[in-house]
Amino acid sequence: MKLFVHNFMSSRFLKNVTVGYPLELTVKQFEEKDIEFDRENTIVMLDKVQYEALLVAAAAVNQADRIPSEQPAKYDELSDDQLKQFHHILMNIDVVDGELICPETKTVFPIRDGIPNMLKVDAEK
């Protein structure tokens, strides 16, 4: 599971959860890939991303220092080097084994072999 996926996940679909976002992320194992960087694609992707949750994901792999702690005003004004750091967090880090945790109910959604399982029936067992 690439880290950008975490940004789109929430546990709002569970009973009695009001926000359910961002999910807490525990990473037991991850791989670093070398996906080709494309400036425009990275900017478009960043425009879809919620910044606070991105910081949570980056911190989960101890790489929050790669990106600013405050959201940049305009992504298209960043240098290639800065955008490459974002690209690395979003696309290169692949979580193999870990857990996504609902911030309210602490329901655990496991990530195994790189595949997160968001099935409610499994989580509530």
Binding site: F8, M9, S10, Y21, I35, M45, L119
Partner: protein, 225 residues
């Protein structure tokens, strides 16, 4: 120019009750190939397939869009996700998969999906499905039990430049499907084909451009944000 059909391993698909690429799969691929220039002109970034099965369609779309897009796919069946990752790898592309029902747990994709793909279980059946393989085709009495759970949420899921491709059967009531969300999306029959007893359709839904409301046009200064 014809785009190649992705490679896939039938053995793995058959061993794990994953829906095998069939006429409906290939009709969806043909429809996307026919529209590929128009889809590219939308400059899509995020592609989501719900119920990816073998992953052949997601792989095709990723390749057809030049590999510059980010592809996500969901399925209930864990074997389908394994096979999708394998199909992606076989074709040297990347797909991120999530095991879930429709897009449960991915609600933050709302308004962000540029290309949405759905080949639902569409076959009218007496009973609701229970096994993995039944889940790949059985659509309940109208054949629309799964589709009718997703359809109401499609307009919110798509980005303003979003497009949605849907596989349907004649017996799913095509005219009513085309009328669904006619206020927010433009619907059309992209392709249709008779395959044995099945009369298959690929329906295409495109987000309408947001229009100014009438008050704004007559009294622009009084228009609230």
């Amino acid at each position: 120019m014809s785009l190649p059909t992705p490679q896939y391993r039938l053995q793995a698909i058959r061993a794990h009750d994953v829906y095998e690429p069939a006429e409906d799969t290939f009709l969806l691929i043909d429809a996307i190939e026919k529209d590929i220039k128009e889809i590219r002109s939308r400059e899509p970034q995020l592609v989501l397939e719900i119920g990816c099965g073998s992953g052949v369609v997601s792989t095709f779309v990723n390749q057809a869009l030049g590999g510059n897009v980010t592809s996500m796919a969901t399925d209930l069946n864990p074997h389908a996700l394994d096979v999708t990752l394998e199909t992606a790898k076989l074709n040297d592309i990347k797909i991120d998969v999530v095991r879930t029902d429709l897009f449960a747990g991915l609600e933050n994709l709302v308004g962000k999906v540029d290309v949405l793909l759905f080949n639902p279980p569409y076959v009218p059946t007496e009973e609701e499905p229970s096994t993995n393989i039944e889940l790949t085709y059985a659509g309940g009495r109208t054949g629309r039990s799964t589709l009718d759970r997703l359809l109401p949420r499609v307009p919110e899921l798509l980005s303003p430049r979003g497009v949605f491709y849907l596989v349907a059967l004649h017996s799913n009531d095509i005219p009513s499907l085309l009328k669904e969300h006619s206020d927010r999306m433009t619907a059309s029959v992209s392709m249709e084909r008779r395959c044995g007893i099945e009369h298959l359709y690929i329906l295409k839904f495109v987000m309408k451009e947001k229009k100014l409301n009438n008050d704004c046009i007559t009294a622009p200064l009084a228009c609230p944000e």
